[in-house]
Assembly symmetry: C4
Homo-oligomer: 233 residues x 4
Amino acid sequence: MTAEVQASIDTIRAEVAALHDELVRYGLVVWTGGNISGRVPGTELFVIKPSGVSYDDLAADNMILCTLDGAVVPGSPGSDRSPSSDTAAHAYVYRNMPEVGGVVHTHSDYAVAWAVRGEPIPCVITAMADEFGGEIPVGPFAIIGDDSIGRGIVETLRGHRSRAVLMKNHGPFTIGKDARDAVKAAVMVEDVARTVHISRQLGSPDPIPQQAVDSLFDRYQNVYGQDPTGALS
Amino acid sequence: MTAEVQASIDTIRAEVAALHDELVRYGLVVWTGGNISGRVPGTELFVIKPSGVSYDDLAADNMILCTLDGAVVPGSPGSDRSPSSDTAAHAYVYRNMPEVGGVVHTHSDYAVAWAVRGEPIPCVITAMADEFGGEIPVGPFAIIGDDSIGRGIVETLRGHRSRAVLMKNHGPFTIGKDARDAVKAAVMVEDVARTVHISRQLGSPDPIPQQAVDSLFDRYQNVYGQDPTGALS
Amino acid sequence: MTAEVQASIDTIRAEVAALHDELVRYGLVVWTGGNISGRVPGTELFVIKPSGVSYDDLAADNMILCTLDGAVVPGSPGSDRSPSSDTAAHAYVYRNMPEVGGVVHTHSDYAVAWAVRGEPIPCVITAMADEFGGEIPVGPFAIIGDDSIGRGIVETLRGHRSRAVLMKNHGPFTIGKDARDAVKAAVMVEDVARTVHISRQLGSPDPIPQQAVDSLFDRYQNVYGQDPTGALS
Amino acid sequence: MTAEVQASIDTIRAEVAALHDELVRYGLVVWTGGNISGRVPGTELFVIKPSGVSYDDLAADNMILCTLDGAVVPGSPGSDRSPSSDTAAHAYVYRNMPEVGGVVHTHSDYAVAWAVRGEPIPCVITAMADEFGGEIPVGPFAIIGDDSIGRGIVETLRGHRSRAVLMKNHGPFTIGKDARDAVKAAVMVEDVARTVHISRQLGSPDPIPQQAVDSLFDRYQNVYGQDPTGALS
């Protein structure tokens, strides 16, 4: 392993560890639930949260380095622990979507509530058109133990504008060009899940014309923003 | 630029930067969403949040100084960054409502939920009569890219008692005599949006007689308060 | 004024100032809304929050000392500021309910939601039977400016087990043997308002038999507790 | 008492005191409500929170040591205070369920809301199948003062997969192999109570096939996890 690759791994370890604070800050996780991973650019590796470790105790050196088949790299820091129980799903996404640099999974309440009904979130808010370009889709029911969760994520999101999928009876997975971008999508999917839920409780949300949705998505992705993450306000 | 104007700009930079903490404190924003601006008194300038910068990193010297047509003042501190993507809307308000000294925009959940249905918030709480003098109105559907958001805000709020407007499918904009006053309105509009929503979930809110609304609004604006912001309890 | 009375005033100033932190901690207030007062034992005086001061800035020496007719004691610390705009209502309670040592007013969301519908909160939770001995009653619609709010509180709570009243279209007022006890009631009334609301959203809460309500209230008030405030768990 | 037993008591005191912070962190308690206890391994003793003490003031040396009949051990640290008013219920559980090492009781809002309607929480989320293996059952209405609460907990949970019971019109009690495990169950029961509630507000949750529930529960309890608490993510 070259010094350059090692430096890149260290950077991603630190970033992925630190980004978990955002899941706590926005109330997307409880106890040890939820997980973030980030691809190490230019390698066949990714970094993911360990299983069953408290959010207070996460740090760069207990993040776990995995190959794209989801195996822990032997002897790497943190390799005495098991990686997140969702590692296989993350690995499947990295193997099958080379453009993806980060994956996030949470059980955030409002997103799960839509997932439990198997109902996509309609695009009725301009910020949702900006960020997701349309509705948030539902993925298939799949349980842990083989590739079926990963496959469900990839089949739903490939070619879709949305970076978020609501896996049936389970919860949201989000992708992004890097881990930070996927975390932003996880934060935003819960926010729109909650807001559209609240709006629907007292009546019918008014739709946004498709042309306006397209225009907002195009502008947000291509025109604005002062940094490469496209994070705007 | 005189020393006095410079001092005034510095004061507004510091105030606008610090006020963003209130948006976080009250849960009105996520990620880098939301923005506050403040007019520099006695000038044709205003100060606004940069685009895509984390709330943790906002400070007086990365706030952005703009002219009333929404252009960044070249060479001023922070001018290497883009201003908030909503700058044109803020600028339109300052050009057309000279009495306004501050503008705030958020995507706070309950206010957006009413905006998504295009439904004004009825005035059924005495604190809402105090603060807004009646219902919170809905503004037209308008998308980013020209003056249509700014025009929608101004046309809705001009001559209206309310300092808040719910822009259709988008979210609340609030105005005030200064940035702090507009922030207070942003906090209060979410609070009343939530409370009236909750009340409506289990039945029909009882209206407040118009005479009582008028009397409360008049008293709150004119009689009470120990400081010029009219902040009461 | 004797040294003993002065010490007692100082104690109540410090307690009332510090108790406001609990309103913030439990999310019962926004901006400068809400207020707590405490009677100075053995005197015709009470201490109350100033009007329009941020919660971050409240301290023992900006609390305001008032006589039982609601007038600020001239020359006392803090007397350069106006007392809470609800001072007249607090004063009315102290004049007419000598057993009351503390009064709290908030606009906490769920309690206000019931107040807006003019609906008492039914006693369907054992903790509510413990604390309030039955339903939380609704008081009359009354607006600020004379004794009508204070009179509405007293007429509703006199002889009632509940230490909380939901003033119509306005919000909760709570009383207690001291300021801390009234704050506890303010915290608990919002908690039961929220929980009963949530329960009602998906069906009909089952009532608790009256005999059990009576038994729980009696036990909680008389049997348990290791300190004079009756604070239990 | 041997030095070994004394060390074990000290450990449990510290753990039980510290775990109360989790109840606050997750918003499961208000004021002094809620309580945690932990069995001292290899003894006929357990440690429980004192009654009516603020969460800010809980510490290892004010936890209270009790025998399995619920009596305070005379002369032990903290024995000048009364134990939690729910001590009899905890003691009953320890006497009758020797496999239980920790008990938690809260009045967390969403769990209480289901308890008030006397309605079990259906198992419609994969994380709920992992953690509870099926629905969360409702226990009988029982009031404080004798063994009826403890008996209701034991009769409902004995032989049940769920470590949580919703006592009718009262609130959740959870058990675990130790205090931390019971706290995790208390956190998770509120999370699923909230999420399933939200999902039900806008339609019908889709059930999870029983075979998938069984498979998820079996895997979570037996296969995964890197530490003895089975805490996963």
